[in-house]
């Protein structure tokens, strides 16, 4: 039983939209105390650390070295964007070298 693509697309779009707005809407009911604010501020730190940790675990030596280089370069260059772009170059070169 397959429905037409536009119908399926509309269903998928509504699921994606629901995810985008639901957390935002529900959060309006939560009074933002300093404790809640500290939790909200820490959330991206945890997510970013999680993304990085998973990439290191799933990747090989090239990925681990590139991400370590990003951390070092961010501290040296004081620009996380420049460090991230250089990290991509590092991993491309290491993969090209067969690492």
């Amino acid at each position: 039983m397959t429905q037409s693509f536009p119908v399926l697309l509309a269903v998928m779009a509504s699921a994606a939209f629901l995810c985008r707005i639901a957390g935002f809407t529900l959060m309006r009911l939560v009074p933002v105390s300093p404790r809640v604010e500290a939790a909200l501020r820490a959330t991206p730190l945890g997510v970013m650390a999680g993304i990085t940790a998973l990439a290191v675990q799933q990747g090989g030596l090239a990925e681990g070295l590139a991400l370590a280089a990003v951390v070092g370069l961010t501290l040296v260059l004081r620009s996380d964007v420049a460090a991230a772009l250089l990290g991509v170059v590092v991993v491309a070169v290491l993969r090209w070298a067969g690492l």
Binding site: A39, L45, T52
Partner: protein
């Protein structure tokens, strides 16, 4: 109350910061276009999918399901809900800042919400960004990159190099590593970082990558709330 700043200046600032990310999202879009074309999607259908769902991981799962030929509307709905559950967390963390722009601007900005520009906006908020148009600004170049990448990938499947060869698949982790390094200002910040990394690795084995990312965010939030001292 819609008194918060929402200006063209803030939008431009966000757009400028979003450009480096848009380059990687363009490459990721190429990858999705490629997969969609191999699943029998034409350019129009691939771009419509990218515009309607606007989330790479959810789209890849949806294309996989559709390819089996047995995908029901409910199965697709549930799959996207599960994969994109992290957006609940993203929206919740933006709420106190974004809501003061008023509902139309806030919900409109959320249409352009993605992993990369959520990270970028949270970093900007921490650095004192007051202009609520910043979020939509970061989203604009990323959306352009995503849709044009999808179109090109679907149209030119056979002649493109694989994005992995250029290292683009590691772009989001690179940005995450850089931003988390830049955002750690004191030893207090190191605890949610360590807890997030540990939670992601632990949950990944039990429940896969989508749950791991949500778990990392929630664990970091919980430990920060617990450690918070009563002052101010």
């Amino acid at each position: 109350m819609s008194g918060a700043l929402f200006s063209l200046d803030g939008f431009r600032r966000g757009a400028r910061d979003g450009v480096p990310l848009a380059v990687s999202i363009f490459a990721y879009g190429l990858g999705f276009g490629l997969v969609a074309a191999q699943a029998g999607f034409g350019v129009g259908k691939a771009v419509a999918t990218s515009a309607a769902i606007y989330s790479g991981s959810a789209q890849l799962a949806a294309v996989n399901l559709l390819q089996t030929g047995e995908a029901t509307a409910w199965a697709l709905f549930a799959a996207i809900l599960v994969i994109n559950a992290r957006y609940l967390l993203f929206g919740a963390t933006l709420q106190p800042w974004l809501w003061s722009a008023g509902p139309v601007k806030a919900y409109g900005s959320l249409l352009l919400l993605g992993d990369a520009n959520w990270l970028m906006t949270m970093r900007a908020i921490r650095a004192g960004e007051a202009d609520r148009a910043y979020l939509a600004g970061t989203g604009a170049p990323i959306a352009v990159g995503w849709l044009s990448g999808t179109a090109l990938g679907a149209a030119a499947v056979s002649v493109l190099p694989r994005p992995e060869a250029l290292g683009f698949d590691l772009m989001l982790p690179c940005f995450a590593a850089g931003m988390v390094t830049a955002m750690v200002h004191s030893r207090v910040d190191l605890l949610p970082v360590a807890v997030g990394a540990g939670a992601a690795l632990g949950i990944f084995h039990l429940a896969g990558p989508a749950a791991a990312i949500i778990g990392a965010g929630l664990a970091a939030a919980a430990v920060a709330a617990l450690m918070h001292r009563g002052e101010a």
